[in-house]
């Protein structure tokens, strides 16, 4: 009765140690899409900024893309798979209810029985995962956490839906969160607003889709674009400001702004609403990649590093927002 429980609590900070992405091989230009939605290349570019997107083939599964992205992230971080203590996967397109994608990914990567689980936080999932990973590292629950955002949104996209068919895309992004002497991940500002769950959602549950009167069909994703735009730009600008304040910095301290690549019009309007200094580089990976939900932020960071627009040690503001509605933002140092 009098024994004291020993805990793993440690005193250390966390940061992103490495990042890696996987972009499916197939590049789909607007020209391949316009006929089905009675649209034009110019209309899609004006409305979304998107020129091309990537769609996965049969072999580029949620797990395969995640393993590829994770291998790059581990190499970038300079650690081996056996050093990974936990794998957190954010996805809404792993079409198994159970088991998780994370357990299979942890096994295929060759981790030493790392803890593994999936989370459902849609387009905010990567920022949710980074927050969980940072807390695990700070709390001593794991030394290195692999956070993966991965989607095959093309599987759940209605190719004739004028409001989503040109937006959604596929890909995977992974980051290693590990211990650090200096703080590398600021406090998360996050939340949910379930009152607006209808704005972005799966059209129907699987049971209704499978037993539909006309035969089985995919339960496609739907989105009310204008309402989402308004929420994303103005409510999320407030959340982004809170994350900057919570990290104890000012917008002038930022080097990079990496919002979820939802739509370039949202990114542009949010950057205007935030009044970010002209020196801040804003990620625009969406032009070539489309909207990959949970994968979009790590993919955009990887691109900024590859193109030299961001450097290791830069201060970046990340913000993810999406179906739920859910959102999360934090200031991090680029690995």
């Amino acid at each position: 009765m009098s024994a004291t429980i020993r805990t793993t609590q440690v005193s250390r900070e966390a940061r992103l140690l490495g990042i890696g992405g996987y972009r499916p091989a197939r590049i789909v230009p607007n020209a391949e899409i316009v006929e089905r939605i009675d649209s034009s290349d110019e209309w899609i570019r004006t409305r979304s900024g998107i020129a091309t997107r990537r769609w996965a083939n049969e072999d580029e599964t949620v797990v395969a893309m995640s393993v590829a992205a994770s291998g790059k992230a581990l190499a970038h971080a300079g650690i081996t798979p056996d050093q990974v203590g936990c794998v957190v996967v954010s996805t809404v397109t792993h079409l198994y209810q159970t088991p998780s994608a994370a357990a299979e990914i942890a096994y295929k990567l060759g981790t030493d029985r790392a803890a593994a689980f999936d989370i459902s936080a849609a387009c905010a999932g990567f920022c949710y995962g980074v927050s969980l990973g940072a807390d695990m590292v700070r709390g001593g629950t794991a030394d290195h956490v692999l956070v993966i955002g991965v989607e095959r949104l093309s599987d759940l996209t209605d190719q004739t839906d004028r409001s989503t068919a040109f937006i959604f895309a596929d890909g995977a992004g992974a980051a290693v969160v590990g211990p650090s002497d200096e703080p590398g991940i600021g406090p998360v500002v996050w939340g949910s607003d379930g009152q607006h769950l209808d704005l972005i959602r799966q059209r129907e549950e699987w049971r209704d889709a499978l037993f539909a009167p006309g035969g089985p069909r995919m339960p496609h994703l739907t989105m009310e674009g204008n309402a989402v735009f308004r929420w994303a730009v103005y409510e999320m600008a407030k959340v982004a400001r809170e994350a900057i304040d919570a990290a104890g910095i000012t917008p002038d301290d930022l080097d990079v702004f990496v919002p979820h690549q939802a739509n370039m019009r949202i990114t542009d309007a949010m950057a205007r609403a935030l009044k970010l200094p002209a020196s801040v580089v804003t990620a625009r990976d969406i032009i070539e990649q489309g909207n990959t939900s949970a994968a979009s932020i790590p993919l955009a960071i990887e691109r900024l590093l590859e193109t030299g627009q961001a450097r290791s040690g830069d201060l970046a503001l990340l913000i993810g927002f999406g179906a739920g509605l859910v959102y999360a933002a934090q200031v991090v140092r680029i690995p």
Binding site: R47, N226, R230, V233, A269
Partner: protein, 81 residues
């Protein structure tokens, strides 16, 4: 309460800032879509900026009824009083 001309002029500044349309072109008889080339997403930005500037609430359902600059000015005059 601002005059019709003051509201039109204020809206013109907003449209200019968001869509780059010359403020002088933003006249009461102009259609946001057909004459000023404001698409639905830019219209959301215009509406939010107008709400802030004039201290009014413009519900999403109402936005589709605001075809012309004159419609928007009349709505703001009506709910602003």
């Amino acid at each position: 309460m601002a005059s019709t001309e003051e509201i039109r002029s204020g809206l013109a500044d907003i449209v200019n800032e968001i869509a780059g349309v010359p403020a002088a072109d933003v006249q009461l008889d102009k259609s946001f879509t057909d004459d000023l080339d404001i698409d639905s997403l830019s219209m959301v930005e215009v509406v939010v900026a107008a709400e802030e500037k004039f201290g009014v609430k413009i519900p999403d359902d109402e936005v589709k009824n605001l075809a012309t600059v004159g419609d928007a000015v009349a709505f703001i005059e009506r709910v602003g009083t």
